[in-house]
Symmetry: C2
Subunit: 347 residues, 2 copies
Amino acid sequence: MITQKEIADMCGVSTSTISNILNGKLKVSEATRQRVLEVVRKTGYQPNYFAQGMRKQKTNIIGIITEDLIQFSSPPIIERIMAYCEDMNYRTILVNMRMYDKWLNTWYEDEKKLQSVLQPAIQELLSIKVDGIIYVAGHGRIINCFPDDFKVPAMVVYSYSKSSKFTSVVIDDEKGGYDMTRYLISRGHRKIGVIAGTADNMHTQKRCLGYQKALYEDGILYNPDWIRYGDWQRESGYQGCGQLLNEGVTAIFCMNDDMAAGVYDYLYEHGMKAGEDISIAGYDNMEISKYLKPALTTNEIPFSEIGTKSAEIMIRSLMEESEDNESAEVVRIPCQIIERDSVRDLK
Amino acid sequence: MITQKEIADMCGVSTSTISNILNGKLKVSEATRQRVLEVVRKTGYQPNYFAQGMRKQKTNIIGIITEDLIQFSSPPIIERIMAYCEDMNYRTILVNMRMYDKWLNTWYEDEKKLQSVLQPAIQELLSIKVDGIIYVAGHGRIINCFPDDFKVPAMVVYSYSKSSKFTSVVIDDEKGGYDMTRYLISRGHRKIGVIAGTADNMHTQKRCLGYQKALYEDGILYNPDWIRYGDWQRESGYQGCGQLLNEGVTAIFCMNDDMAAGVYDYLYEHGMKAGEDISIAGYDNMEISKYLKPALTTNEIPFSEIGTKSAEIMIRSLMEESEDNESAEVVRIPCQIIERDSVRDLK
DNA sequence: TTGTAAGCGTTATCAA
DNA sequence: TTGATAACGCTTACAA
């Protein structure tokens, strides 16, 4: 591979001159500049990244750690982070911890498993001397990602950082539950069942709170029998549907689209139809929701916005350089209801 | 950030000794080794990646260039490449060209657009001195990725390399079309319609060939009216369905699941049902296919296998080191039919 | 305007 | 078993 020294020899100048030209320093004559650039072009010279990185302390690289690249939320978030960074002239480097591949569903609350792969991931990025680290969770919760005295700017995305020293960018679950419930109420529903996620899950709890708030505001008595906890899987939506139907609800708010699909399964099997015999709403706006029949009204998670916002915050904090920047915060991005055909107007 | 020199000073030894210990060289006394390792542990010393990379010529990094990370095929392929590399003690670095974000659907055949982002991507990886480059296409075709005299081991995945100097790992489309057609024939179908992709597309053409071959083998006359070209979108499946129904086919083979969903739309609208009134098969085994009702029989694209195989070939070629390794080839990975409920047995 | 030389942190060679 | 030293390719302060 061709080096700066070789270019210098070819042009009969010193390496400092080459370096100055390549870095846009002004103190070079136009003649030599042209000569050098020509040779650079011809030889296809590429600066050696390692030598450059060693010399300057700034690398202009943002490290991204993802819990799992094949989790459906990860690619769109990461994509937008990369896009924003590219626009702002930062590079990114992605470390994929592949949690699902390693432990299926058993790692969500397992601090030990997490740390066993997180520490090497962080070390790797530190040794690359990234300017900042963005942690992209694959599953919402409170995570202990970085020690309080972490030396590199860092943040957590799609989950809450345990330490308040780090900014978190999350979806606004309480508002999400609230909005969807209000939406159903506005369509004339008052007996609104919920197929929630697992009971101890953060998304579940916050969305339930929003649900409760909306009911309260409309003077609807909260009935605990109308809430059924599932496990986010399709089958548990099926189960919950049967139970809620017995309760006589007119609408069912499912906390993800997969469980809503389970509800559709139940309805299909029993000769009923969403949007006619009963109203169904989902959450996530996954690909499948517009393929269900009738198409599912759901609450879209704004992955793109989450990604962009995260990158924006990270890069802003790098620009500011304000030493002990105590501006860590929790940024909540609202979801957006996508109206389709599964909710009937009762009025 | 702590350096080797500081560790050396703390331990009262030289940096060479530290380096030897850290790199598992044998010529160090157990006493000093322990002492040093203890300090390393305590200080949380991390070798500087740039210094290391500069010194050794090998970086043990495989560069991955993806056309688009949010294309559905990309994450699972990349995931497996990363997994395999990790197992073999290689790092990976991912460059996302974000073609869709930049040009929507207008870049597939646009050599200029491709090169305008590919060249910087390649340059970036070269300047990082990666040991090899894996190009992951987002859309199957013949691509001119690397010049014939490219100095770094490189390969193309999910598309065919124009130059025969580089190995390509692709799906076996002809076999895919053949298998699916045979499958339908084995269920007693003889009038088999096809909703193909765009006519000039490589997947389309090869799968049609396979279709033709299967018909031929069973002595079924090829009827051009039974092939309708779509554009891979749901709507074109809807259109094609109406047309093929008029032709009196008993089964429709759709070249992707999205168009199969369009067929379902048509059937739904006309009070018909897949697997009863007519048989439907898809291609891709996308998430949605098991949510359609009845669940769609389709041909799964083995992304994981493609990823693993690619990484395997790349790393093997790096190990071999055989100078001008003329073993470039086209590796075809077969698809696998996933039987669900959309194909009726006519026998 | 251009060149010299030091130094970034590590590893490899060779001498002690 | 350990240490001194050179070298990797680049940037930069300073000298010419």
